[in-house]
């Protein structure tokens, strides 16, 4: 039975079902409701775990390093400035191969200060060695939580992961969701039993430093684990579907791609809007489809090449900017195709920055412009969408 709840409550309940041992929290909008709900579960005896209020996001993630190394299943969530404050810790967690799971609520980065949604925060942490999966809606963000523990804690992976969900759009929306059953989650997700833990009976050194004769090999092994995660992400999605009856594809998902001439590529909550725009356009005979990226890291290069090979033009719509060179997903996607025989134009739009709305109308405008590329050629490979000249 579905219940209508706030997105943040749904996430908190999914975390509860994963039975974390240690949760470490720090408030920041629009992530705060998640950890508030978790604290209520603890206060009401509905979640048995250690819950600590720390003095910064830097310390929330740092404390989970200690807890995870001591053998605990750990959770935190953050957003934007909080994620930026964690930046140094992010690389440390992945380098130490600690399978911490974090909900990253996507929000713009200051300045100017903005509490509203875009995905600049997580995209800026792209190279931190974390698995990044973007959720389209509350149900997917919720269902991702146990999947990420399963992926991250796999002894062959041991890589931290973030469930990325758009701030406000998903965290504060009330949507009907199917709740997870804790018994079924236990069946799906085995207990965390790491081989290496801080234990005086068997003393080990964690976090030694590596000189140049060792460092490359540490990074090589991390890279290999991230490669293995591709298969694991798809498997976890499939196993989740078997237990819970809800599937999300693997690293990517597709929508109306069969004969699509214009292929849109995006991630996060804008997927829902794009699907609605596609339904309208399809009824008018426009051959447009969508590839939804679920896993941005590891990057689904092979899956994308396969899904997009027959498109006439590919268009990325993403909520981030790399100052000095377009947006990250566009660059990554062009890179994926460079050594392949397919030679369709690829263009991209940075849209929805700092909470600017992307509606069906905007998507239709993008598709209309992309449709002309096949005959007229590329006018602009990259554009910041919806800039108001009167504000400049």
């Amino acid at each position: 039975m579905k219940k209508v709840v706030e997105g943040s409550y749904a996430i908190a309940d999914a975390v509860r079902c994963c039975s974390p041992d240690v949760i470490s929290v720090y408030p920041i909008t629009p992530q705060t409701h998640i950890v508030e709900h978790l604290s209520e579960f603890v206060a009401n005896g509905e979640l048995d775990c250690e819950y600590i209020n720390v003095e910064s996001e830097f310390s929330s993630l740092s404390s989970l390093i200690g807890a995870s190394a001591a053998g605990a299943r750990t959770y935190t969530s953050t957003t934007s400035q909080g994620l930026a404050l964690m930046f140094e810790v992010l690389f440390n967690v992945s380098g130490m191969r600690l399978p911490i799971v974090m909900t990253t609520v996507n929000r713009a980065l200051s300045a100017p200060l903005s509490i509203w949604n875009d995905q600049q925060d997580a995209m800026a942490a792209r190279d931190a060695g974390w698995i990044q999966i973007y959720a389209e809606n509350v149900q997917e963000a919720m269902d991702l939580t146990p999947q990420l523990y399963k992926i991250s804690e796999d002894p062959k992976i041991l890589t931290p992961s973030m469930a990325c969900m758009d701030g406000f759009i998903l965290t504060h929306v009330y949507e009907p969701v199917e709740f997870l059953d804790i018994e079924k989650v236990r069946e799906f997700l085995p207990p965390f039993r790491p081989e290496d833990v801080l234990d005086p009976e068997d003393p080990k050194t964690f976090g030694a430093f590596a000189d140049p004769s060792w460092f490359t090999e540490f990074k090589y092994l991390q890279y290999q684990a991230m490669e293995r995660a591709k298969k694991k992400i798809a498997e976890a999605s499939k196993e989740f579907e078997e237990v819970f009856g809800r599937g999300y594809g693997g690293l990517i998902d597709t929508y109306a791609m069969e004969d699509a001439e214009v292929a849109l590529v995006a991630m996060g909550s804008v997927i829902g809007t794009i699907k609605e725009a596609i339904d309208g356009l399809r009824s008018e005979g426009v051959k447009v489809g969508l590839v939804k990226i679920r896993s941005y890291r590891p990057f689904p290069e092979e899956e994308l090449k396969k899904a997009l090979k027959d498109a006439n033009v590919i268009v990325t719509i993403e909520k981030d900017l790399s100052m000095g060179y377009e947006s990250a997903l566009l660059t990554d996607l062009k890179g994926a195709f460079y050594n392949s025989p397919a030679r369709m134009p690829i263009i991209g739009f940075a849209a929805g920055l700092g909470g600017r709305d992307i509606g069906v109308k905007q998507i239709r405008g993008i598709v209309e412009r992309a449709s002309k590329v096949k005959d007229a050629g590329i006018e602009a490979e990259f554009e910041i969408f919806d800039v108001k000249p009167e504000c400049l």
Partner: protein
Amino acid sequence: MEESLFAPGHRACAGCGMPTAIKLVLDAAGPNTIVVSPTGCLEVTSTPFPESSWRVPWIHSLFENPAAVASGVEVALKRFGKTDINLLVIGGDGSTFDIGFGSISGMFDRGHRITYVCYDNEAYMNTGVQRSGSTPFCAKTTTTPTGKLSLGNPRPKKDLPAIAVAHGVPYVATASIAYPVDLRRKVRRSLSADGPAYIQVNAPCITGWSFEAGDTIEQARLVVETCLWPLYEYVDGALAGVTKVRRKRPVEDYLKTQGRYKHLFRAEGGAEVLAQIQAMADANAEKFGLLD
């Protein structure tokens, strides 16, 4: 003698006070202990992969987060019912006084059962003797050099034990490697405290302070005997004990033996500074009742 929990083969300088401090601390804590360390001399000299000097479980994450990492270890141990394990942070003064201070305040505030040991060598020694919040007044460092307009570090040493006491930390102490019995006793006492503890151990740095080889312990003793490093302990916010100084020595006896203070005996204005430092020592003697 039993095998030390801090194994030989580490890369600390000959004459470094830090390994002595570590051995004494671990000797007191025993094998049922987990240690968290920040980046610093201790970390780089004791854990060049694939080697380690640690015979107890040890974890290093970053420069500014050992107190947070230890907080996470502590709650995880509590979760697993392993509250009998001693939990120590052992870090230098750069991490403790400056960059990691925010997370230490959080650790104190939350009341975790962790003993935080600062081996204090009064500057950023691992990066080459730069000024930290622990550097004493008018000591020369590579970022507080002496010059026409400078007599070294313009600020006095930050009083971190007082800040710990102000947090309501139940056990706060200063210690010295020249007083090993006292140091071991303080570590043991800290581990039975019902909450966090802070111990600040004077650990001379031969390269940063620039003194004669073989004088490490003598340096640690002299600073106590001049009253510049009072040995005391606070229990539940009240001064609970001091190590009396039998024969108080003038601060010059200590300062003149170190390269970092050499300028005070030559430069214009040096005599005035020496008088100021003597006044600091006298104030310590008075405040803590160090003399009979």
